[in-house]
């Protein structure tokens, strides 16, 4: 067939764009560009206040916009962007958690030498330059435009309804994160190493995603999810292009949610990154990536459930078991929480496999509950310090319960929620995904999940035991008094964890009313 003749069918007409529906994304991208210009033109001292106003203004404006759009269910940009209930819920959650993450990144009181980021990322670690930059009180305000681009990518990622846009959103989300991970002020070698590993593995996995998209394009003749779903339901027999394509796309997405065997980057990136960045990315990327995974599996490949479900079963079981078991052996609390996030990803996958309306809404609930607990936990880690910076080794937490009872109690609350103890949000979340999975017949999967969560309760409880049932010694870290920023984050995390455990109904209503994905 002659391609020029095909082009005559007006393939290049301008796609109609519903600007109001994608306004939150446009706001963030627009402010991100302004933020880059501020870096170029504003005087050094004025940059931080201007950037903070821009960042929080953009996040608030975008959130208000998402709330006003809450009833909207539409597909725009020729079927490339779906603004539907689940997308709006996830966008709202990402914006709130991103605002909390931004507060942690803006914190300046906990580290005596400045904020969480290197004075100049370009100065060599340990060099004379670095000492001078630190002494002069330089700050790397370039983190703010990177942060805004990343958040905009996440908002687009959960709304993307075609494989090309999803790939672009994936990169817009990830590329700034690779850089943010490498900018820690202290332990810079670790941070740079984490950045390199995260980048190389991330680029590797997104190449898989892209090649999978190419194969699906070859099969369906389009990268649009609606078209792909039609092509999938119309096919007869097995199709190698389709199955290999689905598998490769899933490799790319499972990497982002940190499922075993694609989890190796998680502990390194979480441990090496500045804790504020870890808090930000461990929560928002998880939501964004699960949003994309759900949309791909439910909308584009819903007709292939019998083909992808066995693979997802194996990955979910591996993720839960490997994550829980390896977390037991960890001695660094950031690394332990990284493996915990791997295990939690496995529990959320149990809800994904349910492939039902209940599965979708329970996954949304779990993601939001998990996000608030996690960001609170990392916020506490950032204020437990000794002379060398953050005291992440668990031995330095011994006796913290006697030294700083309030902080230790809040940590205990977060750990109980991770473990899924009743009256915390973690319990409602786990109950929801397990119930949805049993309803759809995945009883054995739920049994494995319950066993894995018993194993995971062990290492969460160990933190509590270390804090409360051992005496403080000379190595015990002390809790630094932070500014209002970090205090707000910890308070918000703890409040949401308790409130969702006792009064989950408002959020349950919200996720249930979100409805299904649009096609």
């Amino acid at each position: 067939m002659n391609p020029i003749a095909v082009a005559d069918k007006a393939l290049f007409e301008i796609p109609p764009l519903d600007y109001s529906a994608i306004a939150p994304i446009l706001i963030l991208l627009g402010v991100a560009v302004v933020s880059v210009l501020v870096e170029a033109f504003a005087p050094k001292r004025a940059r931080r206040p201007i950037q903070l106003v821009l960042v929080f203004g953009a996040l608030i404006a975008a959130f208000v916009d998402v709330v006003t759009l809450s009833g909207l269910r539409t597909i725009t940009a020729s079927g490339s962007i779906a603004i539907d209930g689940p997308a709006l819920v996830m966008q709202g959650a990402i914006l709130i958690l991103a605002a909390l993450g931004a507060m942690l990144m803006a914190e300046r009181l906990v580290d005596p030498s400045g904020d969480a980021f290197a004075a100049r990322a370009s100065a060599l670690p340990g060099s004379e330059d670095e000492k001078q930059f630190t002494a002069r009180g330089y700050f790397q305000t370039e983190v703010w435009p990177l942060f805004l681009f990343s958040v905009a990518g996440m908002l687009l990622f959960v709304a993307a309804s075609d494989l090309l846009l999803m790939f672009v959103a994936l990169e817009v989300m990830s590329l700034p994160l690779y850089l943010l991970v490498g900018m820690a002020r202290r332990r810079r070698l670790l941070s740079q190493e984490a950045s390199l590993k995260y980048f190389l593995l991330g680029a590797f996995s997104s190449a898989f995603f892209l090649y999978g998209s190419a194969l699906i394009y070859g099969f369906a003749g389009s990268v649009n999810f609606g078209w792909i779903a039609d092509a999938v339901s119309g096919k007869t027999g097995q199709n190698a292009l389709l199955l290999i394509g689905v598998a490769m796309i899933l490799v790319g997405l499972l990497f982002k949610i940190a499922a075993v065997p694609f989890h190796q980057w998680t502990p390194d990136a979480y441990q090496g990154a500045p804790t504020a960045v870890t808090a930000f990315m461990s929560t928002t990327v998880k939501i964004a990536a699960f949003g994309a995974l759900l949309r791909v599996l439910y909308v584009a490949f819903g007709g292939l459930r019998l083909d992808w479900a066995p693979m997802m079963w194996i990955v979910a079981i591996l993720t839960m078991v490997v994550g829980s078991v390896i977390a037991v052996t960890q001695s660094d609390i950031k690394r332990m929480l990284a493996y915990s996030s791997v295990a939690q990803a496995g529990f959320i996958m149990v809800g994904v496999i349910a492939t039902s309306a209940a599965g979708l809404s329970s996954v949304l609930f779990y993601l939001i509950a998990y996000g608030f607990t996690t960001i609170g936990a990392f916020a506490v880690i950032s204020i437990v310090r000794d002379s060398s910076g953050e005291a992440t080794h668990l031995s330095k937490w011994s006796g913290l319960g006697k030294k700083s009872p309030v902080t230790a109690t809040v940590v205990a609350l977060f750990m109980l929620s991770f473990a899924g103890i009743p009256l915390t949000s973690g319990f409602i979340g786990k109950f929801g995904v397990f119930a949805a999975a049993i309803d759809s017949g995945a009883t054995w999967l739920v049994i494995v999940a319950v066993v894995a969560s018993v194993v995971s309760a062990f290492f969460y409880a160990r933190v509590i035991v270390i804090m409360f049932f051992s005496e403080p010694n000379e190595n015990t870290a002390s809790v630094v008094v932070p500014s209002a920023f970090t205090t707000i984050v910890i308070a918000a995390g703890a409040t949401v964890t308790v409130v969702l455990g006792i009064l989950p109904q408002p959020l349950l209503d919200l996720v249930n009313n979100a409805g299904l994905f649009l096609r």
């Binding site: 391609p3 393939l11 090309l164 790939f167 990169e171 984490a194 190419a214 070859g218």
Partner: protein
């Protein structure tokens, strides 16, 4: 020439890139292998565009080129920083984070 052959070529290139990422030890070479994988995907998109008889695949190839260029910027920044710190771009040497 049958455009399906180009799909096979792209699969070969993609596999070469993937194997290269797994076996090579120089960060720059690893990164070039990732770029090879992206370009293999581009070739597949263009070949499928010919097979399917629509232009979507060719348009997608342009988007992918732009994304790949952005990825090069970020990737080289990270690798150059590692090189300046360690005077080496071997991916075996940064080994502080483990287990």
């Amino acid at each position: 020439m049958n455009p399906a052959n180009y799909v096979i070529l792209s699969a070969v290139l993609f596999s070469l890139g993937a194997v290269g990422v797994l076996v090579r030890r120089n960060a720059i070479v690893v990164f070039m292998c990732v770029e090879l994988m992206l370009n293999a995907a581009n070739l597949a998109f263009v070949a499928f565009s010919k097979i399917n008889g629509n232009l979507d695949g060719q348009v997608i190839a342009f988007f992918v080129m732009v994304v790949a260029a952005a990825e090069v910027v970020v990737g080289l920044a990270i690798i150059v920083q590692i090189f300046r710190t360690r005077r080496s771009v071997s991916i075996d040497e940064p080994n502080l984070l483990k287990y």
